[in-house]
Symmetry: C2
Subunit: 254 residues, 2 copies
Amino acid sequence: MFSMHYTMNHRYWTMLIAVCRVREPSRPTSIHEDARSTENTMSLHLKPDQSKSIATLAPLAALVVFAGLATASWPSAAQDETYTPEFTADKQLKLPHGKIWREWPFVGSLVTPNSLNDGEAPFPEHHVVYIDPVSWAHYKKTGTFRDGTVLAKELTLVRAPDGANENGSTDEVSGTGYFMGEYSGFEITIKSKELYPDEPGNWAYYTFGHHLEPYSGTAAKQPAEACNACHEASAAEDFVFSQFYPVLRATKPK
Amino acid sequence: MFSMHYTMNHRYWTMLIAVCRVREPSRPTSIHEDARSTENTMSLHLKPDQSKSIATLAPLAALVVFAGLATASWPSAAQDETYTPEFTADKQLKLPHGKIWREWPFVGSLVTPNSLNDGEAPFPEHHVVYIDPVSWAHYKKTGTFRDGTVLAKELTLVRAPDGANENGSTDEVSGTGYFMGEYSGFEITIKSKELYPDEPGNWAYYTFGHHLEPYSGTAAKQPAEACNACHEASAAEDFVFSQFYPVLRATKPK
């Protein structure tokens, strides 16, 4: 297990093998499993490793390779894939930068069209749910949502460029149905004992608006009765609606 | 730009910086952009880099770090994310192993319910479209589908555990709409001048079945009139229905 630290500019690259952590022999059970795991990828910033499988922590060597001729950009997959929620001083959650959630593993989608909900769907209208990659890797191993899990839900309106049928569907070459229009909302939920000791299941919910982009830059935690209560009452698995998400059912270890 | 080659066993790790490729100074415009790019991630196997931005190709150094005490498993994100289609001797496409597509970037979803299509939706019923990560990185940079692009479409039935409304929708806590049931089909399309010089747009289409899992293990290329013709006639962008996929529209460089 390695963490490396790179410092680069246009004419130099400096590579420091800062820490080499040693753990008991273990092989990934699936190459996919580890593709998104921070445990085995490279990181621009050293960070504590939460793996319980670490047997020893041994700095091995500091290695500097200096090549004045080389120009390189070497980003880190792990940095991108390890999302850490950021908050304002008054505890508002900041909108994740770069819309990073759109590259997270897809959990599921559904559509509750306005036209089938008296013009006021609670979530207008397509929902797409994503999970942060580190928590996805954990879910695949354990079938549980780790402390720190982040789920993102983005909404889009139903596409109806030339008008829609009475039920809101449109007739496209793929058939009659509900197609995606423009982005129309964004929400996040986070599970954390430390941050939300008093929330049921330690899940907190944030809404960055149900409207076209741009979304709000920050969001206050919703009161438990606004979101959490419904998840607690109806979601099949630890406040998550896995009954709607085949990939969770298919992936959960048997 | 680097490619590295690792050889490992339980008691040793050997790191070879096999080739260090140099290119003109360029910084990623987005850290996400590069997170899934093979150009900037590590690969277990050296492979030709197709980037046209390479100015110079200069082997710099071969560096071996040998540490007998260390035990490491160091998988490669790039290896996992670089999907190479595999074919049988009679040119049938093999079903990708491990359902790897379910971790690829999400392109879009839509639903054409059987109930709104005389009981016989062309694609029953939810579609979810994914793109292979390397082609996604390319699309973000260029707004085009590179030669080699692979798109995967997986289907699920509409969920209706307690029966459905006449239009096929169900009433759930999130509202009335269409929710995902079980996986019900899988298809792939590949763009390749080399493999499909005579297909319009060099896109070929493969269907692994419209039925519950398990899917067929192999699939023959569909005749152009079965899939390609419709994509050619109606898809907004190089045979891809980007009019249905907001993430493509939002991501395409302006």
